[in-house]
Amino acid sequence: MNTLTTIDELGFAPALEQDVLEDTTSDHALLEATRSGDQDAFAELVSRYRNQITSYIYRMTNDYDGAVDLAQETFVRVYRAADRYQRTYAFSTYIYRIATNLAISELRKRKRRKLVSLTGFFQQTDGGEAQELNPPDGRPLQDLELVDTERRNAVQRAIGTLPEKYRAPLILRDVDGRSYDEIAKILETSEGTVKSRISRARGFLREKMRAYL
């Protein structure tokens, strides 16, 4: 899969909110300043999106160190393609699209490597994707925080077993809270497809998380 490097490849519809573009502290203005050599503007962009991008890639790959590396690669590509960036498109959509492509590339590389998991004996296949068996602990938990932590870990593992085409829209929708329109632009697909995939993803998770629901 080719990773995205230029805004020309996006084919986005022009952003509707033109007044945002006039703001000197907007993402577009910062990228314009970056293009003219302002390193502080690029540092501001990084500080705005580093946590979001790192978190998003981490949810996608379930690997923190790899997510940090890919997040840095995302910003490197943004920096190198700053000259070709067109401010008529939403920057957040642009950078999320780069991050998505990098994360999906990483997931496909992992699949090619065919790593043998230590928990492979407890895995079963469903739709071509390996699913890790994670039976809930039946013992009574003494702390609600522990319950929440266990539940979050379980859902994180369950998300990690989803096929990539379901994983990305689910994270963008339910974790990051993005709109269907933006998700469709990030994933280069239609809103109907995004809605369908999110519904399927939730169905998968319901089955896996039945013990916690």
């Binding site: 540092a43 990084v46 500080s47 580093r50 946590n51 979001q52 790192t54 978190s55 981490y58 949810r59 923190y64 997510a67 940090v68 997040a71 840095q72 910003f75 490197v76 920096y79 190198r80 929440d148 539940r151 979050r152 859902v155 994180q156 998300i159 689910l170 339910d174 974790v175 809270g177 269907y180 809605k195 999110i198 519904s199 939730r202 998770l205 319901r206 998380m209 916690y212 629901l213």
Partner: protein
């Protein structure tokens, strides 16, 4: 009809954001349909759990590492600019080196002397007829091949040297040694006039020198000088350079 209605209501509920109000038709359906109500409750709970994952923060040195990465990529891009020129230079140097090596090898091949087989295959060159050499008198007393040189003149000596040469084009001089110490010396001066000094040829290089003197009174004396050889080497026994000299 009811199943289709459930699908529509579930799809509507699925597309809503958390906390967003659903339509009155959906509200009415949820009151009547326990299955859809359970579905809605599970989905809402699941979305709360997924939403509770929150944001993972980037490490503190994220900016520093990013700057280092950008700097390293910038330097690598600079090197990539000069790489085509360096590659051309390396290719040119390799070509020159290859050409020089080939020239040296070719020169060595051309200067190499012909092998034995090649010489054998070469056509023979007509050699001029060699001059016949007179056979030298051989002493039959000993039954050996020892030539009698005592009476031989200068021409005969040259003939012997010619015979010792294997080929005219053979540069290396052959080394031959002949021992004439056992030959009898010629008697000279018996028939000469008295008072006239005797003149006789001495070929010291061929045999030992013996002179017999007679004073015509019955006294006879013989002086013998052994053969003198030059150019021979003698290994000094024990490395003692001051050892007493032997007879020679």
């Amino acid at each position: 009809m009811r199943k289709n209605n459930c699908e529509l209501i579930r799809r509507e509920l699925d597309e809503l954001m958390l906390g967003e109000a659903h339509s009155s038709a959906a509200t009415h359906h949820l009151r009547e349909c326990a299955s859809c109500r359970e579905f809605h409750e599970q989905t809402t709970k699941l979305r709360h759990i997924v939403g509770s994952l929150g944001t993972v923060e980037a490490p503190a040195d994220f900016d520093f590492r990013l700057r280092a990465r950008l700097a390293s990529q910038a330097s690598s891009s600079v090197s990539s600019i000069y790489w085509p020129f360096a590659r051309r230079g390396l290719a040119l140097a390799a070509m020159v080196l290859l050409f020089a090596t080939g020239a040296v090898v070719l020169r060595n091949i051309l200067d190499k002397p012909a092998s034995v087989n090649e010489v054998a295959q070469q056509p023979k060159v007509e050699q001029p007829p060699q001059k016949q050499v007179e056979e030298l008198p051989v002493a039959k007393e000993n039954g050996a091949r020892t030539a009698v040189i005592a009476n031989a003149g200068e021409n005969d000596t040259q003939s012997i040297r010619k015979l010792s040469r294997p080929r005219p084009d053979y540069k290396k001089r052959s080394v031959a040694a002949m021992d004439f110490s056992s030959e009898r010396a010629n008697v000279i001066g018996e028939a000469g006039p008295v008072g006239v000094p005797a003149a006789f040829p001495i070929d010291a290089s061929l045999q030992s020198f013996k002179v017999s003197l007679n004073d015509e009174r019955g006294n006879e004396k013989t002086i013998s000088v052994p053969t003198i050889s030059f150019g021979s080497q003698r290994i000094v026994q024990g490395g003692n350079q001051f050892a007493p000299k032997r007879d020679w």
